[in-house]
């Protein structure tokens, strides 16, 4: 077994969302007033919505939102439908459901339920909910798009996202594990590529036609793949005011490799289907604070494949 400690770049703050933003949804302006006050007293910034349409609009405008509080007694007459629509569009957003009643649809279980906003431990439960690792939708969507685009445009390979899941432990598919660190004030961590050696070989033959391939060549290819994925993610994050700097790719090789990232949080794993095999892109975060910056904006910059004379 080979064990490698991967050095992070400059920023190794623990994973803490700097500010807590809650959106409270209730058709009645006064219904959850006491809960709003208690949330604010406990450091939350609270926005209010009175309809489902308002809710979805506000969530779109506030990608850094950390909690949705829903008054289950009456939201657009159909609470299960409301929560289903939010869940479909934003599966990453924790939902606290405030209702004295049972939720009729068992498929729509919110992350946490409280019978009344006046429950003594509601804030404690809310903090517990936020203690879970949480990844904003724009990062999940961004990494998905950046990976499929990079594979298609740079490596002539179509990839399909099969699933996104929390990473607990994962066995490397092969003996070659490319890693690329990134760091920034708001976001830092590592991107790891987990694919089989045969898949690396197939990918390399798509771009470089040489008969002999050493494992170093395959590792180099993996490092460059991560470089191009993360380069795109960097441009994507910049639209949200989040700056990251790329490190240099490194490749760990050996059987039954264990990677330990100092202070890393449980990451998320993107499972892609490419060239008839699984290819996992693992996103491990050492620090994340994506709460401070505003809505996505267009930025100046070149797109992949573009050339500009200076």
């Amino acid at each position: 077994m080979t064990s490698a400690t991967v050095r992070t770049l400059s920023d190794t703050r623990p994973l803490i969302a700097g500010r807590k933003y809650a959106l409270v949804v209730s058709p009645h302006p006064k219904a959850l007033e006491s809960l709003v006050m208690r949330l604010r007293a406990n450091g939350f910034r609270v926005a209010l919505a009175h309809s489902l349409e308002d809710t979805l609009t506000i969530i779109e405008r506030m990608p850094w939102l950390s909690l949705l509080v829903v008054d289950g007694s009456a939201v657009d007459r159909s609470p299960p439908l409301a929560i289903r629509r939010v869940r479909d569009k934003h599966p990453e957003l924790p939902v606290l459901w405030v209702t004295p009643d049972e939720v009729p649809d068992v498929d729509l279980v919110p992350d946490m339920m409280v019978a009344s906003s006046r429950e003594k431990d509601v804030i404690q439960k809310t903090e517990g909910l936020l203690g879970r690792r949480y990844y904003p939708a724009f990062i999940v969507e961004g990494l998905t798009t950046c990976t499929t685009d990079a594979l298609q445009e740079a490596f002539s390979t179509d990839a399909e996202l099969l699933s996104v899941s929390l990473k607990l432990t994962r066995t490397p598919l092969g003996n070659i594990i490319p890693i690329l660190a990134f760091a920034g004030r708001d976001l830092s961590g590592h991107l790891v590529l987990n694919a089989s050696e045969s898949e690396f070989r197939m990918l390399r033959r798509k771009v470089v036609r040489t008969p002999v391939e050493e494992s170093a060549d395959l590792g180099d290819l993996g490092g460059e793949m991560l470089n191009q994925i993360l380069g795109r993610l960097k441009a994507h994050c910049l639209r949200y005011g989040i700056t990251i700097e790329l490190g240099l790719p490194m490749v760990v090789t050996g059987e039954k490799v264990t990677l330990r990232f100092p202070r890393a949080a449980p990451g998320i794993v993107f499972d892609f289907y490419a060239l008839g095999r699984h290819l996992y892109v693992e996103f491990s975060v050492t620090s994340m604070d994506v709460s401070a910056d505003p809505t996505a904006t267009e930025i100046d910059g070149l797109r992949a494949g573009e050339l500009s004379f200076l």
Binding site: R209, G231, G301, R303, G305, L307, S308
Partner: protein, 152 residues
């Protein structure tokens, strides 16, 4: 051996019909443009080399900015393609060094990188880069740009 002839030939280009096959080879190499590809990824270097050689260019390689500067000092280079994020010396620093070398104030330098932000592009422009390309390169974009600057 060929490299020495090539270097000599740059000063006194051999004439058609003059000398034997080795002189003819040197003459062709004198006419051929040499492009230096600087990238820490062997995959990118090989990919770029394959494309450029298929179009008749001669290609030399370096794996980081410091090696790239040495290549420029030691052999004739007509155009440089350089990445930004590299160990030892990054691409921006390398361009800064190359621009200070005698005879390379106007050598075309293309930056080929995953970096796309206007801030990086501005830094490239400040040190004297000729063009900025965001990876992956498209042959139909890269090759006309190379022809354009080498024929200027």
């Amino acid at each position: 051996m060929v490299a020495v002839r090539q270097w000599d030939a740059r000063v006194h280009p051999p004439q058609v019909g003059q000398g034997g096959a080795d002189v003819e080879l040197a003459r062709r190499q004198w006419m051929q443009h040499t492009i230096l590809v600087v990238d820490d990824s062997a995959t990118i270097r090989q990919q770029t080399r394959t494309l450029l050689e298929s179009k008749g260019y001669s290609v030399v390689e370096a794996a980081d900015g410091a090696q790239g500067v040495e290549q420029v000092k030691n052999a004739p280079v007509h155009l440089i393609i350089v990445d930004v994020n590299m160990p030892v010396m990054n691409g921006i620093e390398m361009i800064d060094h190359v621009r200070k070398l005698p005879g390379h104030a106007k050598t075309p330098i293309f930056v080929l990188t995953t970096e796309s932000s206007s801030d990086y592009v501005r830094r490239g422009k400040e040190v004297g880069a000729t063009a900025w390309i965001v990876k992956p390169f498209k042959p139909e974009v890269l090759l006309p740009a190379i022809r354009k600057v080498l024929s200027a």
